[in-house]
């Protein structure tokens, strides 16, 4: 009857609000503030946070940096893609391009690395499986984040940002050794 009629009172904004609504608004507001505070809390005390460090770059510059690292630390090759074993604590560089993640890493468990990610062409999605960590990889931008693999094993890097007809071919790999 009245949700589509003008309010019964001309000065409707001065009408009292029922207790039920007030209680619900109060509870909801408290919950909203808790959810809000969780984010700065986790940013300071939590161990999993999105990258805060990024630079503008170019495909040529980033590609050269990746190649430099590959030449320095390549240990073998797998399906035509170099496998790189950089020293613990170092900066490691991975690029996405149509339709490949390059190179493959061999990392050590419980060691930290500074992972640099960028794209040579279109946007890609770095989706580390099976732990399901997902990052956006954008051409022209270099994202840097500290990673500390805490479980040994073989990990897949699925591209989860649609990048054309060969999107499903774009799978990379990271090995974590003991």
């Amino acid at each position: 009857m009245t949700s589509y009629m003008p309010p019964a009172e001309r000065i409707w904004w001065k009408m009292p609000v029922g207790r039920q609504e007030l209680v619900w608004i109060a509870i909801s507001l408290v919950w909203c503030l808790i959810m809000f505070l969780m984010m700065p809390y986790w940013h300071i005390y939590g161990k999993q946070n999105p990258a805060t460090e990024a630079y503008q770059t170019t495909p040529a510059k980033f590609g050269a940096r990746v190649q430099e690292m590959v030449e320095q630390y390549q240990v073998r090759e797998e399906s035509g893609i170099p496998v790189v074993k950089p020293p613990a604590g170092s900066d490691i560089y991975m690029l996405g391009r149509l339709w490949q993640w390059y190179p493959i890493f061999e990392l050590e468990k419980d060691q930290s690395y500074r992972l640099h990610l960028s794209s040579m062409d279109w946007q890609h999605g770095f989706s580390l499986q099976p732990i399901n960590v997902n990052l956006q990889v954008v051409p022209g931008y270099e994202m840097v984040l500290q990673i500390t693999p805490d479980q040994a094993g073989e990990y897949g890097v699925v591209c989860n940002e649609y990048c054309g007809i060969g999107h499903h071919l774009m799978v990379g790999r990271i090995y974590v050794g003991e």
Partner: protein, 578 residues
């Protein structure tokens, strides 16, 4: 001279020009829903890995068109009809400048067709988001731009109609709550379309070679000012539809005009910040920016939705209790008209939007939790809960009301229509829940082959992921059947339904009212009076007027809290990173 008719079923006044515009906008919306629904078959049957129906090319083309037709064309055409209804019909006012609204409508049609042509020509399988530097054909962008300009014109006609109604004093007091909600949707729409213009015009110029470079990150940020805000237009619109249907079906009055309007105001102030939800794991944006924006400024827009979540069913409960359905805390709900698709559609829309869409949306929009959800199939699961059930099912429910009231036709296959919200809502809910599960296992969205056939390096998802995707697909097929029934009933009724001129209709039998014939005349409609006043004791009742709704709200809150912290716990188990 403006011509009006009164609907004998509902008492609504229809201005002839506005009525035609409502009809054409609603019908065009339904046409694009049909296109989206047909494409959904291909999408669902391809992502069901054991079936894997389409080739990669056809899948990506179909998915692009499915997204654009469902999320943009169907919904925005239908929203234009709602805007004209909420201004001209509800305020009993002539439509301002119908000619401009027609120009807007025609531009929208040209734009929508042009965009579809571009996609089906095959060189624009870029998904709805069309992320630069992936490039579509120029007429892909031009179609969207024309569509947006057309929509903007119709939105301005809506604002103009409000001005006319105010000046000609067609109503007393303030505008009704439903109109207020529509104003909210229209204001957000202006912001949305402006963002779209800011990004799509340069992108169009880039596609024809006038601009050499579009920054990929800038594209993402501004595009989502269009992409996410347009979904917030839908939220404001379908919440208004919930209030409208609660009013029509139950004579429900808002529990508090002030609270409901404040909640809409919070939408206007904060919803557009949601573009940040898509940028949480991107390079180059600061943590402060991400936290403030992804939380819609401390979750004030979420607060608004939680308020509507209480006040919409709460107003129904209060109305039902007044009719004597006071036993226990749920008699009002048990004895609601569950066999009336206007009600069942609206209520399922409300439940799925709140419980699944709302909770998953907040969880995945949490800065850090987004790390384990971004771009997985969890994301489309979320927005099928908000848009495919929340918005689309609410609009379907409204359609069942509009067939007799606006189109003056009797509904064909009423028994099938009664089942439709359950089939569509149920199928969608299955699709959504199992896609949420698959997303948690890391299955990617917008992906043709979860087997990675032909990839140099492989990866194998757990067997459970395949099972979840298969069940999701079955739910999807069920939802498609539900969608087909809707189209059959809606289109069939318009074409073959018995004309209701001037006798009784579907709604009349429900409301038990008998009103005058629906014929046009040039008399000015009576001024829309204010709602009848409440008696003193009904004001600001100190007790809980709607205990059942409060219980439901508490269930929602507990589910929300538990699910929220489960996701934090899951996040804490992955590699330390940052």
């Amino acid at each position: 001279m403006a011509e009006f008719r009164t609907c004998p079923d509902s008492g609504f006044y229809f201005h002839k020009s506005a009525e035609s515009l409502m009809k054409v906008n609603a019908v065009l919306g339904v046409v694009f829903l049909l296109v989206a629904g047909v494409l959904a078959v291909g999408v669902v049957l391809t992502r069901w890995q054991e079936v894997h129906l389409l080739s990669a090319e056809a899948f990506y083309m179909g998915l692009t068109a499915h997204g654009i037709n469902a999320l943009i064309f169907w919904i925005i055409f239908f929203e234009m009809a709602i805007l004209h209804f909420a201004s001209s019909t509800l305020l009993r006012c002539r439509l301002a400048t119908p000619a401009w609204a027609w120009i807007g409508f025609i531009l929208m049609v040209i734009g929508a067709v042009m965009n579809n042509v571009a996609v089906f020509q095959g060189n624009s399988s870029v998904m709805m988001t069309s992320y630069a530097p992936m490039q579509a054909a120029p007429h892909f962008y031009l179609g969207l731009i024309l569509f947006a300009v057309g929509a903007l014109l119709q939105v301005f006609v809506f604002f103009g109609t409000l001005v006319v109604a105010h000046q000609e004093k067609t109503y007393e007091g303030s505008v009704p709550l439903v109109t207020f909600g529509a104003i909210t949707a229209a204001i957000i729409a202006v912001f949305t379309i402006a963002s779209g213009a800011i990004i799509l015009i340069p992108t169009f110029l880039w596609s024809i070679g006038y601009i050499s470079h579009i920054d990929a990150e800038m594209y993402r940020i501004v595009w989502w000012g269009l992409g996410h805000s347009s979904q917030q237009v839908n939220v404001a619109a379908h919440v208004s539809v919930w209030y409208l249907l609660a009013g029509v079906l139950f004579g429900a009055r808002p529990m508090s005009e002030k609270v409901s309007r404040m909640a809409f105001l919070l939408y206007i102030l904060f919803l557009q910040l949601a573009c940040a939800h898509h940028i949480l794991v991107d390079p180059g944006v600061s943590t402060e920016w991400r936290i403030f924006n992804t939380s819609y400024a401390m979750y004030l827009a979420v607060l608004a939705s939680m308020i509507h979540g209480l006040t919409v069913p709460g107003s129904i409960e209060v109305a039902q209790r007044k009719k004597g359905l006071t036993n226990g805390i749920f008699e009002w709900l048990r004895k609601a008209p569950w066999d009336n698709p206007v009600f069942s559609g609206m209520f399922i829309s409300l439940l799925v939007f709140g419980f699944i869409g709302g909770i998953t949306g907040v969880v995945m929009g949490t800065l850090q939790i987004n790390l384990i959800i971004h771009n997985t199939i969890y994301v489309p699961a979320h927005f099928h809960a908000t848009v495919a059930v929340g918005t689309t099912l609410a609009f379907m429910a409204l359609t069942y009301l509009l067939i007799p009231v606006l189109f003056r036709r009797e509904m064909i296959f009423p028994k099938l229509a009664k089942l439709q919200p359950y089939i569509f809502g149920g199928g969608m809910t299955i699709l959504i829940l199992f896609m949420l599960g698959a997303g948690t296992l890391g299955v990617s969205r917008r992906h043709w082959d979860m087997d990675f056939t032909g990839a140099a390096l492989g990866f194998e998802y757990p067997g459970m992921a395949y099972t979840l995707m298969a069940i999701a697909a079955i739910g999807g097929l069920l939802a498609i059947v539900g969608g087909a029934i809707y189209l059959l009933v809606a289109v069939g009724s318009l074409m073959f339904g018995k004309k209701l001129e001037p006798s009784a209709g579907f709604l009349q039998s429900f409301l038990g009212k008998s009103l005058a014939a629906s014929v046009y005349n040039t008399n000015r409609p009576e001024t829309l009076p204010m709602a009848p006043k409440l008696s003193v004791e009904e004001h600001g009742s100190s007790g809980f007027e709607a205990p059942g709704t409060f219980a439901l709200a508490m269930v929602l809150l507990v589910s929300f809290v538990v699910y929220y912290f489960i996701n934090w716990k899951y996040l804490a188990s992955v590699w330390p990173l940052g």
